[in-house]
């Protein structure tokens, strides 16, 4: 009697294990299928950029037939200005934007997280409000302002606002991070006679490196991909950023050179991929805590 129950329960457990294994396999297959479907166009983009132009409209597979770098060579100098210039422009704008955001956003965030000052609650509410503000509301008058200042066709409209913490998201992100640090650090430093700026620079900044990394990575990706602001503020092709240069292919009267366009598109995505791979930890934390894109 007891032996049979033991035997049945053992076989039951074995059956349950088998069922759960089947379920796991099913789950993995489904996830892999979904990922394949989602990422197929991207992989195909990369493969196609390395194949002769005519295959782009005839070969949906990923077979690496007749690999060539022709598209890259053609694409690099497809416009009057070389892509080296476009990449240089994008790199300059992006690095400046990162510096601006790190500096201005961490300064404001320190005050909001640690200092008592008049109307702080009101300023914080305004700060959060500006996060939700569509850029389209301000872009028309900003255009008027920048044209008055003579800033059109310079990088200033893309870069200057960052040095004034215009990307209020990051202030919020860093505030949330500083709030998790023990307050005693501040008090101890104050007793030691540290001024607020010294506390910010010597104590807080080194501790919020993860939040700064998240800020830097998101700033990189957004600025690198940004299209609508360069579209409005830059008309001189020598100042174009990479996304603007990609658009030139689509505008071309003679029809699009898809191979060259694909090749340059791939190049434009590579830095984003690198940041994605090496900065994933910070990206995931950033989205999970504040809902950034």
């Amino acid at each position: 009697m007891t032996r049979t129950t033991a035997a049945t329960s053992a076989s039951l457990r074995a059956a349950a294990r088998a069922r759960s294994r089947r379920r796991t396999i099913l789950l993995h297959s489904f996830l892999l299928l979904a990922i394949t479907l989602m990422l197929y166009p991207l992989v195909w983009l990369v493969v196609s950029s390395l194949r002769p132009n005519e295959l782009i409209f005839s070969d949906p597979t990923l077979l690496p037939s007749g690999l060539t770098l022709d598209n890259y060579i053609q694409g690099w100098s497809a416009h009057a200005v070389s892509f080296a210039v476009y990449f240089g422009n994008s790199a300059f704008v992006t690095v400046a934007a990162i510096l601006g955001n790190l500096l201005a956003c961490s300064l404001a965030a320190y005050a909001f997280a640690r200092l008592r000052f008049k109307l702080k609650t009101m300023w914080m509410a305004i700060l959060l409000g500006t996060i939700m503000l569509p850029e389209h509301v301000t872009i028309v008058p900003q255009y008027v302002l920048f044209s008055e200042l003579g800033w059109l066709n310079t990088f200033l409209p893309l870069v200057a606002p960052k040095f004034f913490a215009a990307d209020a998201f990051f202030v919020f992100l860093i505030v949330q991070f500083i709030r998790t640090l023990p307050r005693e650090l501040n008090e101890a430093a104050e007793i030691d006679g540290c001024g607020q700026f010294a506390i910010y620079r010597r104590i807080v900044l080194p501790l919020i490196v993860p939040a700064l990394a998240t800020t830097a990575i998101f700033t990189f990706i957004w600025t690198w991909n940004d299209f609508s602001r360069p579209l409005v503020f830059l008309t001189d092709a020598r100042l174009y950023t990479v996304p603007m240069a990609l658009r030139l292919f689509v505008d071309a009267q003679a029809g699009t050179n898809w191979g060259a366009l694909f090749a340059m598109s791939v190049l434009s995505l590579i830095p984003v991929f690198l940041f994605f791979i090496f900065g994933q930890r910070f990206l995931i934390r950033g989205i999970a805590t504040t809902g950034l894109k």
């Binding site: 789950l27 489904f30 996830l31 990922i35 989602m38 990422l39 166009p41 991207l42 409209f57 005839s58 949906p60 404001a108 005050a111 909001f112 200092l115 000052f117 300023w123 305004i126 939700m132 503000l133 569509p134 850029e135 389209h136 509301v137 301000t138 872009i139 028309v140 008058p141 900003q142 255009y143 008027v144 302002l145 606002p161 040095f163 004034f164 913490a165 215009a166 607020q196 700026f197 299209f227 609508s228 409005v232 996304p243 603007m244 292919f249 689509v250 598109s265 791939v266 434009s268 995505l269 984003v272 994605f276 994933q280 990206l283 995931i284 989205i287 999970a288 809902g291 950034l292 894109k293």
Partner: protein, 312 residues
Amino acid sequence: MPTAAPVAPRKRPRSSRAARENRAGYGFIAPWLVGLAVFVVGPMAASLYFAFTDYNLLQPPQFIGIQNFVQMFTEDPRYMNAVRVTLTYVAVSVPMQLLFALLLALLLNRAISGVGVYRAAFYLPSLIGGSVAVAVLWRQVFGRGGLLNQALGALGVDAATSWIGNPETALWTLVILNVWTFGSPMVIFLAGLRQIPSSLYEAAAVDGASPARQFLNITLPLLTPIVFFNIILQTIAAFQAFVPAYIISGGRGGPADSTLFYTLYLYQRGFASFDMGYASAMAWILLLTIAIVTAAHFLFSRYWVFYGDDEK
């Protein structure tokens, strides 16, 4: 009082410490305050004024009252079309995107190997979904001889239509693009799911609740704040979608204005025909719409969003 003098503290009095902190606070937020005035509040005030003017940058703005708004709603079929296209896009793509995000988050929220890799792979499209490179790829994939039709052809389906060139389907290619970027709400869902204490599920299992029951009575209610958060974020983002429509239609919003997003029409009016007044009026309607939709979500949220302690 003569006795007051000797009591005067040697150190600076307390109020001075608060004053110092106040000064320091304003010092730290000074760059942001300047930016707020110069790049946000000033432009918003100017924009509000422009909205009631006829302004083409060359001549000074002419005050014309509410005529821009009247024109929008009564004499401009392209405007009403842009409203319709955008509302359709928001109403269709956001729920679909969030449904995928929730489904995948639920599947990934278990002890299987490789969760990190899966999560990263699903997340990747969100990072590049707004880029010109991906919009360009989309233009090819859904074009006449594009990847989709090639794949359909390989499967024996003869598809010679251009999904982008057909006014019936062009908007759907943009909906698919937005759904494709479900990774970022998915990551937020996953973070929310991790917050649900496992003791609740253990207790429910002891009581004999089926997995479906556990999902309906534990997971779903406790996840509603995250659902709400995601709806707000993605709705606001979808209202402002611009790049894919611009690239796919070559800046025109075609075919037959079927991808003429609100922001794209705003751009055309503001920066192609330099109707700065009209574009400003459009921007304010967009802002008001987003504010009203968000406020409505907040009002409606009390009927379905569950915040745990009711007595709070």
